[in-house]
Amino acid sequence: MNDAMLTVDRLRVSYGRVEAVREVSFRAEEGSLVTLVGANGAGKSSIVNAISGIVRPRGGRIRFRGKDITRTPAHRLVGQGLVQVPEGRQILTSLTIEENLQMGGWHAGSAGIDDVYDRFPVLAERRRLPAGSLSGGEQQMLAIGRALVAEPSLILLDEPSMGLAPLIVDEVFAVIGEIRARGTTVVLIEQNARRALGVADRGYVLASGEIVHEGTGAELLADDRVVSAYLGIAT
């Protein structure tokens, strides 16, 4: 089967009568890094939540590794290797760091926790502390590490650089590069469009719930219309 890792076909998402996503289609080939960029409210998070089964789509089809997952609930998808790192990190602050990682292994088991500790020694040092004691950047690393424990074949990162200091953003992007180097397919949602397009194989620019431009990351960054209209404020 020559299906892509993820195929989104004419996806529609609405909240009541408000259409957040209108007929959005895109693909992520196995092992690639695809980014969806666009302003706040462009529909990026709605797309991610529809893919990961948190929001029920109004229309369209979503296929993951050749299987239709349009109506599959979130808890099944995680077990199948489709894992989301949600916007705002959604760390369980009252649980310890280790318990957060164990929650990441709800389906896959805890075998991957040691790898996360090797990559993020700061998490290992504080494993017994409540996750709420971590700084924002550390919490983002925990959120990503928690998703990796689930052994994803596709990881959806929703605004991983949001609210972080520039140095920490560098580290987040370094980690994203490593995830991709392992062969994991990455769908990256970012407001920091230049940064995201800079690392992406393929990018899609969203505005008002529709894809208005697409191309390789380099093509989009070289396109003056895209840069002036949609990426002007991003740095």
Partner: protein, 294 residues
């Protein structure tokens, strides 16, 4: 000189309060909802327990695990009927409260329809008669069993919540249901399991209570309902150790009041004591001052 006899009576009764109250605390802690069908489970379990011992002639000790299972099934019904259909309403807290009161009414009506309005008792030959003499106090096997079983179940629940995968899932849902879903937790299933455990403990409490006083009455759930709520408020709402300590405290306070002041003062003294604790510690004995995130 502490009266060993009364102290033991109080601890035994209090451990029952704790076992009952912990069912409230578990559901409240994880879902932020009060399940007011819990007292009805307590009453149903007492009748079913007596019926099992009477009509099947099984021993009271064998009856308890059966009642545990019956309680778990009732918990699944409560979650499915009174809570799940309303969970996405903006007023879900209040709606669940009301629908669980309604379901409690249905349970009690079914109980009355099945067993009639009269008080039920265990057959005399089924009750264990063994007593021990400890430091001059007469302690019955039933009382020892109540204390041991209740405390063991409360401790086992504490272990489950703190140390197991299911317990982590429960705590994850308690803090952030959306995050739990994103992590792959089947929130509906963990929620239903929580109700099943809560009701199973409430059911064992009901059967033990019936064993303790050799009586089951239709109103026994309502009689313990306020005590259970008072215990978790004093303990710190969702705190399991708080429910244990609060329950024991209430039991001891009641028994000593009856002994030294008079039985008509029982509720006054016991609740005044709980009130005083709340004046000193408004968050409850083990409660944390916290603001729930929206």
């Amino acid at each position: 000189m502490v009266d060993i006899q009364q102290l033991f009576n109080g601890l035994s009764l209090g451990s029952l309060y704790a076992l009952f109250a912990i069912g409230f605390a578990l559901v409240f802690g994880i879902l932020d909802r009060l399940n007011l069908a819990h007292p009805a489970v307590f009453a149903v379990a007492a009748y079913v327990g007596i019926d099992l011992v009477t009509s099947l002639s099984i021993s009271v000790w064998l009856m308890l695990p059966v009642v545990f299972v019956v309680g778990a099934l009732l918990g699944l019904v409560i979650e499915r009927v009174a809570f799940r259909p309303l969970k996405n309403r903006p007023d879900a807290h209040f709606a669940g409260l009301i629908s669980s009161i309604a379901l409690a009414g249905v349970f009690i009506a079914l109980l009355q329809g099945t067993y009639g309005p009269d008080t039920h008792r265990f057959p005399a030959e089924a009750l264990p008669e063994t007593t021990f003499t400890v430091a001059g106090a007469q302690i019955s096997l039933v009382q020892v069993a109540i204390l041991v079983i209740s405390v063991l179940l409360v401790v086992a629940l504490g272990f489950l919540v703190a140390r197991t995968r299911l317990g982590r899932g429960m705590r994850a849902i308690a803090e952030n249901p959306t995050a739990a879903r994103v992590l792959g937790v089947n929130v509906d299933r963990v929620t239903a399991t929580t109700f099943a455990i809560s009701s199973a403990l409430g059911a064992v409490a009901g059967a033990l209570f019936a064993l303790n006083v050799n009586t089951a009455q239709l109103g026994m759930g309502s009689a313990i309902e306020l005590k259970g709520l008072a215990v978790i408020i004093v303990g710190g709402m969702s705190s399991l150790p708080g429910a244990l300590v609060g329950g024991l405290l209430l039991g001891v306070a009641e028994v000593f009041t009856v002994q030294y002041i008079g039985s008509s003062w029982r509720d006054l003294v016991a609740f005044a004591l709980l009130f005083l604790i709340l004046v000193v510690r408004p968050q409850g004995l083990f409660g944390k001052r916290k603001v729930r995130e929206v």
